[in-house]
């Protein structure tokens, strides 16, 4: 019995160590990741000033090459959504929801589409013309047909 106690402690230590390494690697991946503006538009010069990007996600009409851009709010990740609220529209969740509601009530404007997974985001970007959204760079790196326009946020 005396010899088994240290053996069990050792297994517990190894398990804890493995979990710590896993968590650290995930944290490191997020720390290194950036939020990028993404689109399926083929135009390599596609760029949007921050003021226009905010207008777009608030429901205003924003044109690019004569086409009306279609915003997609990517809600696949809680942290990503917080970054969207803080750095793109600069509003609290409540204020943003009220503003979008208000725009619909006043002029019947369409609310930005919302997606809740990476796969749906990719499908929507590829299916509907002139869509624009934001995502973790690592989520969409190398996906055929998806272009990363510029970095919106980095840690």
């Amino acid at each position: 019995m005396e010899r088994r106690v240290p053996v069990m402690a050792s297994r517990r230590d190894i398990l804890c160590l493995a979990m710590a390494v896993l968590v650290a690697r995930q944290a490191s991946a997020i720390e290194d990741d950036t939020v990028v503006l993404v689109t399926a538009e083929p135009d390599p010069d596609f760029s949007l000033p921050t003021v226009k990007l905010r207008k777009l996600f608030l429901g205003f009409t924003v044109l690019h090459d004569g086409n009306v851009l279609q915003p997609i709010r990517n809600r696949s990740d809680e942290l990503l959504d917080k970054i969207f609220l803080q750095h793109i529209v600069a509003m609290s969740d409540e204020a943003y929801e009220r503003r979008v509601l208000s725009m619909s009530l006043r002029q019947g404007r369409q609310r930005p589409r919302e997606v809740y997974s990476r796969d749906t985001l990719i499908q929507t970007l590829l299916r509907i013309p002139h869509c624009i959204s934001f995502a973790w760079q690592s989520d969409l790196r190398g996906v055929p047909g998806i272009h990363m326009v510029r970095t919106l946020w980095r840690p």
């Binding site: 905010r54 207008k55 924003v62 509601l101 006043r106 019947g108 404007r109 369409q110």
Partner: protein
């Protein structure tokens, strides 16, 4: 107001089409995109006052269904209000976005010269208090200013280099008619033989942030209001009503200030009488308290209203009112509000106590 059959049919067509289309995966396809919203509220109201006409209690349940559909630069917007008190097709507008952020509309719309109504329309959940200021009341709720027009409306937003900008709107069309109980709003399909006269309305605002309501705005309106169905016994055929208003909105952290003042002039055309000038306005201050609670106080005042021949046609006109409202946003899209008001009407003082649940779906 009970809707005509044609109006009800059109309302159903416009409002149900977007809902049916929204049954798809994301409410969109290559033929256009649709959107719908349902604002609902249930109110319990108690009034008590000097005169017996003020004593009442009632329960009101209401739903405001808003549907829109757009394809390319064209858009259709419909708003149908249903309650235990009335049913009305509030707005039915066919719009064309001429250039980005510049719209031309045809149909029935809320006139742009009301600072309050162009913000909240019938979306009770978005309104910070249960009641609206008396001077902003709808025609069929004792309002003294025309609020609905059938005609044409133009709206544009001009953004400056930063996020600030100008908002301009102008509307022209036929407006309400006077009845023995006050103004009756114009219907999209109004009855034959009912006298309708023109109304022109204008709004110019400078907003610190075009996506907000903070800024200063000037509103103006000229309306001819027919008297032939009002029971008025004098020689005038109509009243020329002019209104000019100045509105201010300002938010700082948890505080928000809204204030509007209107100067109005009514002239009974053809009776040789002089101009009838009066003023009305309100100052409203609200504060978010945290945990979804917010507190609001509003003072509504007026001047020269006792001598006004025009206001004498409105027995329910309230010349002064102090309103206190406590709101609790119990969920992201639901709120409970409690409101107390002390008011001064034509026949004496009265108090109002209101409790309301409001929500918006989806």
């Amino acid at each position: 107001m009970i809707m005509a059959r044609r109006q009800a049919f059109l309302a159903m067509l416009v409002l149900l089409a977007p809902i049916a289309q929204a049954g798809g995966s994301d409410g969109s396809d290559e033929h256009g995109r649709s959107n719908w919203l349902l604002f609902g509220n249930a109110d319990a109201n108690a009034l008590e006052g000097d005169a017996s006409l003020y004593d009442s209690t009632d329960l009101v349940v209401a739903a405001d269904l808003l549907g829109s559909w757009e394809t390319g630069s064209f858009r259709i917007l419909g708003e149908l209000f249903l309650s235990t008190e009335e049913q009305e097709l509030e707005r039915l507008q066919l719009g064309w976005e001429v250039v980005p952020e510049t719209y031309a509309w045809l149909g029935r719309f809320h006139q742009p010269g009301s600072a309050w109504n162009t913000r909240y329309h019938h979306g009770q959940f978005l309104q910070p208090s249960i009641t609206r200021p008396t001077i902003e009341s709808w025609e069929d709720e004792g309002g003294v200013l025309p609020q609905h027009l059938v005609g044409a409306l133009g709206e544009t937003r001009l953004q400056l280099a930063d996020e600030s900008g100008f908002l301009l709107a102008a509307g022209a069309g036929i407006g309400p008619v006077m009845t023995p109980s006050g103004l009756a709003p114009v219907s999209l399909f109004h009855a034959r033989g009912v006298e309708r006269r023109p109304t022109f309305s204008f709004r110019a605002a400078f907003l610190q942030d075009l996506a907000s309501d903070d800024g200063i705005e000037l509103v103006a309106m000229r309306s001819e209001i027919g008297l032939s169905d009002s029971g008025y016994a004098g020689p005038s055929s109509h009243v020329d009503l002019d209104a000019v208003g100045l509105s201010l909105g300002w938010a700082l952290q948890r505080w928000q200030l809204v204030s509007t003042i209107y100067a109005m002039n009514a002239k009974f055309v053809g009776d040789g009488g002089g101009n009838d000038e009066f003023f009305a306005g309100y100052l409203q201050l609200s504060r978010k308290l945290g945990r979804g609670l917010s507190l609001l106080g509003r003072f509504e005042g007026s001047a020269h209203t006792n001598d006004s021949r025009y206001l004498a046609l409105f027995p329910d006109f309230v010349s002064q009112r102090a309103v206190f409202d406590l709101r609790w946003d119990l969920a992201p899209q639901q709120a409970l509000s409690l409101e107390f008001a002390a008011a001064q009407g034509r026949y004496g003082n009265f108090q109002e106590l209101r409790l309301q649940w409001s929500a918006v779906f989806p």
